[in-house]
Every structure is written in C-alpha cells, then in structure tokens.
Symmetry: C2
Subunit: 100 residues, 2 copies
DNA sequence: TGACTATATTTTGATATAATAATAACCTAA
DNA sequence: TTAGGTTATTATTATATCAAAATATAGTCA
C-alpha cells in the first residue's frame, strides 16, 4: 500500500471512530474530563460490556488512552485531533451538554 | 427517539461518510471543485458503478449535491461542514494533493 | 428512431460491525 | 485466601457494509 493510501486508511479509520452514536456520546463525555468506565456506564445508561467494547475500539485507534486508578480504570482523550474536531463540529450541535 | 439522540444519529452518519478511503478520495477531489462522475472515475481509477455507489451514499447524507450539465452529471460539495472539516483535519495530511 | 455515452440501480456473495449474553481477569479489602 | 466490585474478552447471532457484476435508465447525436 502506498504512503498516500495509508494516510487515507488512517484518516478513514479515525472518522470511523466517530461514526457510531454511542462512541460519539462517550467521546463527548470524555471531553469534559477523564472518566472511569463505571461512571460512563451510569451516565450513558448502557451495559458494561457494551461500553467496554466501544472503548476498546477507541483505544485501538489511539483515540483514547486509559490508566488504572485504584480499582477503577480511567479513560481520557488521547488523540489531539479529537479536541479540534469537537470544537469545530460537535460542540455547537449538542446544546444539551452545555456547561453554564 | 429524543431530539438529542437524533442529533447524535445525524452527526454519526455525517462522520460515517468520511469513514471509507474511497469516499475520502472523492471528497478531497470535489474540494478542488465540481467534477463529473466520469472524471472522478478516471482520476481515482475505479469502476463506474463503484464511484456511483459511493456518490449515492454521499448524496443521501446531503454531503454532496449534483446537477446535470449536458451529458454529464456534476457533483459538488454541499454540506458546509465538509469545508471546515477539510481545512481542519484533512488538508494538512494529504501533502500529495497540494496545489502549488 | 437507433446507437452510443454516461450514470444509476440491483443483486449477490463476502466481510465487517453490532448487540447481547456468558465468562474471565484483575484489583482491593477483609 | 476469599469475596465483591470493576473491567475485559469471547462467542453467538443479527445486521450492515462492501466489491463486483449485471442490468437499467437517461441523455445526446446521427
């Protein structure tokens, strides 16, 4: 695969991370700060395995990172492009998320 | 479906448009100006039905629009978010596309 | 009208993704 | 070490997406 094709592959994989409403929700939540899986599950009212699966997709793409904190595992936004994308296109659409 | 969920659905569908390398290529080409299907097919070296299928996906999401010009059908970027996204995240990655 | 060019749609089979349930792994604290 | 809480993985099934081929549609021009 040529260098150019690799770039397009990587970019399309990046966007694929945002192409599922649940993953969008997760990313939006993490934009407010690191969160443990348990909190995410409660906030989003979803089953633990489902959250965990979507987190593993985001992790494999390098979109998020995680660290253990005691008995919890904390996820955070890792890819700097996420913040840019969030500010440019996502933030303005999700008025319900606005923090004063 | 709640209003919020609809917004997330729409956003994720938008990003899904960018989650395939061929569609990225098409979008990048259209960012340089409207193109007919034939030109796209030649530029990207792909079969006509394949181009046409991806174009129809982009059309259904409102990402691109098209108009007939004589015997050709011309596609163009329609969704204003595309330009923002292109300038923010795509342009800088695709050095091979640079126009002097 | 008929032939030709350009584009779209449909169908099929292969592959990827998704949701759910079940289970495993890992930490902490008693 | 055992129990309980937290997270990850696996397996299964359903669904969606993809590529390729075949076919259909629509416009143009002789």
């Amino acid at each position: 695969m040529s260098k150019d094709e690799e770039i397009l592959e990587e970019l399309s994989e990046f966007f694929k991370a945002f192409s599922h409403p649940v993953r969008l929700k997760i990313i939006i939540n993490l934009m407010e700060g690191p969160q443990c899986v348990k909190n995410l599950g409660e906030t989003l009212d979803m089953s633990q395995p489902s959250i965990s699966q979507h987190l593993s997709i985001l992790r494999n793409k390098g979109i998020v990172g995680c660290r253990r904190e005691g008995s919890l595992i904390c996820y955070y936004i890792k890819d700097p492009r996420v913040k840019k994308l969030y500010n440019l296109l996502i933030k303005e659409e999700i008025s319900w998320q606005e923090k004063s």
